[in-house]
C-alpha cells in the first residue's frame, strides 16, 4: 500500500474527567485516578458523573461559550489542542481541505431541556423560547462550532452512532482522507450528556444507572458487584493525515489506522449481540491484515451493565480464544461512560503504550465476575509488556451499532 493510502494519527487533544491533556490523562490512568464525582442535576439532585474541568476560555470568547453548546465548547478545546499537538502550521493550511468529523451519542437534549425549563418559569409561554435553540440543536452543531472557531471551510458534520460514535468519527475521518476529500481530518467524538437530566433518568428507569457511596468506585466494569453506567462528559479529537503528508513534514506519528469496521446487531434496542461483536472485530482484523494473536491490547467497551459486559466478554473470548500475548483493559472504570467521546478517549489513553509498553489497568474489579473472565485481563495495576505493536479499540451502542478500530505502531 502506498503511503498516500495509509492514514496516521499526528495530533491528540482531549478533555476527560481525569485529565485535560493526553499526558495528564495517561498519567492518571496509570496511577489509578478516577474522574467520577457527585454532580448536581436538575430534578434528580446529586448523581454520579464524570465531569471535565478544562477552561473553555482557553480557546473561546465568553460570548462564544454563551452562544454555543457544551458539546461545541468541548469540541473546540479538543480540536485546538489536537491541532497544536500535531505541529501542523495551521495558518498556512488550505482551510478548505480540512474536514471536521465528530461522533456524538446524541445532541440537542441539553438545550431542549434548558428551554423547556426556561419557559416553565414563564407559564410555558413559548414566546420566551430562545432563538438560539435551533442553531444550538442542529445535529452538526459541535462540529460546526469547531469550524466557526477555527475558520475551517472544509466539510463538517457529526456522526450519530450512540456509544460507538468515537470510533465512528475516527473511521469517517480516515475514509474521507482515503477518498481524497480532505488533506487533514479533525476526527473523534464528544459528549455533553451529563447536562441533561434525561440520560440519568432514563438509565435509572432502565435499571442501568450506577450507584455507589464512593464515586471513585462507582464505575465497575467486569466486577461481580457492578450495577450500571456512570455517565460522563468529555471529548477527544485526533488529527489524521496521510502517511506521506505526515512524513514529508517530519510529524510525530502516534499510530496508523490499519483496520476498522462498523456493523449492526439488528436484534435489540439496547442489549448487545455477541455474534455481531465478533463479526465486527473479525472484519476489522481482516482489513488490518492481521490475526487476533497479533493484537497486544484490546481496549474494551464494557460499561458495567450486568448483561452488556457479559455479551462483550462472550465476543472477546471467541475472537481472542488462543491469544496468550493479548491483554485487555477498560477505561470506563476510571472515567465512566463518556458516550460519544468514549471510544476516542479510550483509544487515546492506550496509544502511549506504543512508546512505554505499559497496558493501563482496569480499576474497581474487586471480584471478577466469572462470566467476565478473559485471559490476560489487566486488573487494578498496570502491566508492562516487552513491546506493543497493535491496539484494537472496541465500541458499541444502543440500537445495535458496533465500531472497531485497529491501530498499529509506526
Amino acid at each position: 500500500m502506498t503511503n498516500h493510502r495509509r492514514i496516521v494519527i499526528t495530533g491528540i487533544g482531549l478533555t476527560s474527567p481525569n485529565g485535560n491533556t493526553l499526558a495528564e490523562y495517561r498519567a492518571n490512568l496509570l496511577k489509578g485516578v478516577s474522574g467520577v464525582v457527585w454532580f448536581e442535576t436538575r430534578y434528580m439532585g446529586k448523581v454520579l458523573a464524570g465531569v471535565c474541568n478544562y477552561d473553555p476560555l482557553t480557546y473561546q470568547l465568553k460570548k462564544e461559550v454563551r452562544r454555543g453548546t457544551r458539546a461545541g465548547s468541548i469540541a473546540i478545546y479538543c480540536a485546538q489542542e489536537a491541532m497544536a499537538d500535531s505541529t501542523l502550521r495551521f495558518a498556512s493550511l488550505d482551510k478548505s481541505r480540512i474536514g471536521v468529523y465528530l461522533g456524538i451519542t446524541e445532541h440537542g437534549n441539553v438545550e431542549t431541556e434548558n428551554e423547556i425549563y426556561n419557559i416553565s418559569q414563564y407559564g410555558y409561554d413559548t414566546k420566551f423560547w430562545s432563538h438560539h435553540h435551533n442553531p444550538r440543536t442542529v445535529a452538526n452543531s459541535p462540529a460546526g462550532e469547531v469550524t466557526l472557531n477555527m475558520g475551517i471551510t472544509g466539510p463538517h458534520y457529526t456522526i450519530g452512532a450512540a456509544c460507538a460514535a468515537g470510533n465512528a468519527g475516527l473511521i469517517q475521518g480516515a475514509q474521507m482522507l482515503l477518498l481524497d476529500e480532505v488533506d487533514v481530518a479533525v476526527a473523534g467524538g464528544v459528549s455533553e450528556s451529563i447536562h441533561t437530566f434525561g440520560i440519568f433518568a432514563s438509565f435509572a428507569s432502565q435499571g442501568a444507572l450506577a450507584s455507589h457511596a464512593d464515586p471513585t468506585k462507582a464505575s465497575r466494569p467486569f466486577d461481580r458487584d457492578r450495577n450500571g453506567i456512570v455517565c460522563s462528559e468529555g471529548g477527544c479529537v485526533f488529527i489524521l493525515e496521510r502517511l506521506d503528508h505526515a512524513e514529508a513534514r517530519g510529524a510525530r506519528i502516534y499510530g496508523e489506522i490499519v483496520g476498522y469496521h462498523m456493523n449492526s446487531d439488528a436484534s435489540d434496542f439496547v442489549l448487545p449481540n455477541a455474534q455481531r461483536h465478533i463479526e465486527c472485530m473479525q472484519a476489522a482484523l481482516t482489513r488490518a491484515g492481521i490475526a487476533p494473536q497479533d493484537v497486544d491490547i484490546v481496549s474494551t467497551h464494557a460499561t458495567a451493565t450486568p448483561l452488556g459486559d457479559i455479551q462483550e466478554c462472550l465476543a472477546l473470548r471467541a475472537v481472542f480464544a488462543d491469544c496468550p500475548t493479548t491483554y485487555f483493559n477498560n477505561t470506563k472504570s476510571f472515567i465512566g461512560h463518556a458516550m460519544g467521546a468514549a471510544g476516542a478517549l479510550e483509544l487515546a489513553g492506550n496509544l502511549p503504550s506504543f512508546d512505554d509498553g505499559i497496558v493501563h489497568q482496569t480499576i474497581n474489579v474487586d471480584h471478577l465476575d466469572p462470566q467476565c473472565e478473559i485471559p490476560n485481563i489487566v486488573l487494578n495495576s498496570p502491566r508492562q509488556l516487552p513491546r506493543v505493536d497493535y491496539i484494537l479499540n472496541n465500541s458499541s451502542g444502543m440500537l445495535g451499532i458496533n465500531s472497531v478500530v485497529v491501530v498499529k505502531r509506526v
Binding site: 470568547l61 465568553k62 460570548k63 454563551r66 452562544r67 414563564y122 414566546k127 420566551f128 430562545s130 432563538h131 438560539h132
Partner: protein, 83 residues
C-alpha cells in the same frame, strides 16, 4: 424609568450578551453596531431580555429603534414609564 435608567438597563443586558466587550466608553448617540460586535442574534437577545425583565414587547418593525442607547431610551420610555 428615566431615560438614564433605561440606558443603564439596556447596558446591563448588553453586558450579559456581549461579555467580552468594554462598555465603559460606549457613546449613547452612536449606533451600537458601530461600536460593538453585535449581530442580529444579539439584537434578538436584547428583545428577549426586555421581554423577560420588563415585560416589554418590541415588534419586529420597531427593531430599528434599538440602534443606539439614546434611541433605545426614546423608544422604550413610554413603555417603561410606570416602572
Amino acid at each position: 424609568m428615566t431615560n438614564d435608567q433605561i440606558k443603564h438597563a439596556v447596558l446591563q443586558i448588553i453586558s450579559v450578551i456581549a461579555p467580552d466587550e468594554d462598555l465603559s466608553r460606549l457613546k449613547s448617540d452612536v449606533a451600537l453596531r458601530e461600536q460593538l460586535e453585535l449581530d442580529s442574534m444579539d439584537f434578538l437577545d436584547i428583545v428577549m431580555e426586555l421581554r423577560k425583565r420588563y415585560k416589554v414587547e418590541v415588534p419586529e418593525a420597531d427593531y430599528g429603534h434599538l440602534a443606539s442607547l439614546d434611541s433605545c431610551a426614546t423608544y422604550l420610555a413610554p413603555k417603561l414609564k410606570d416602572l
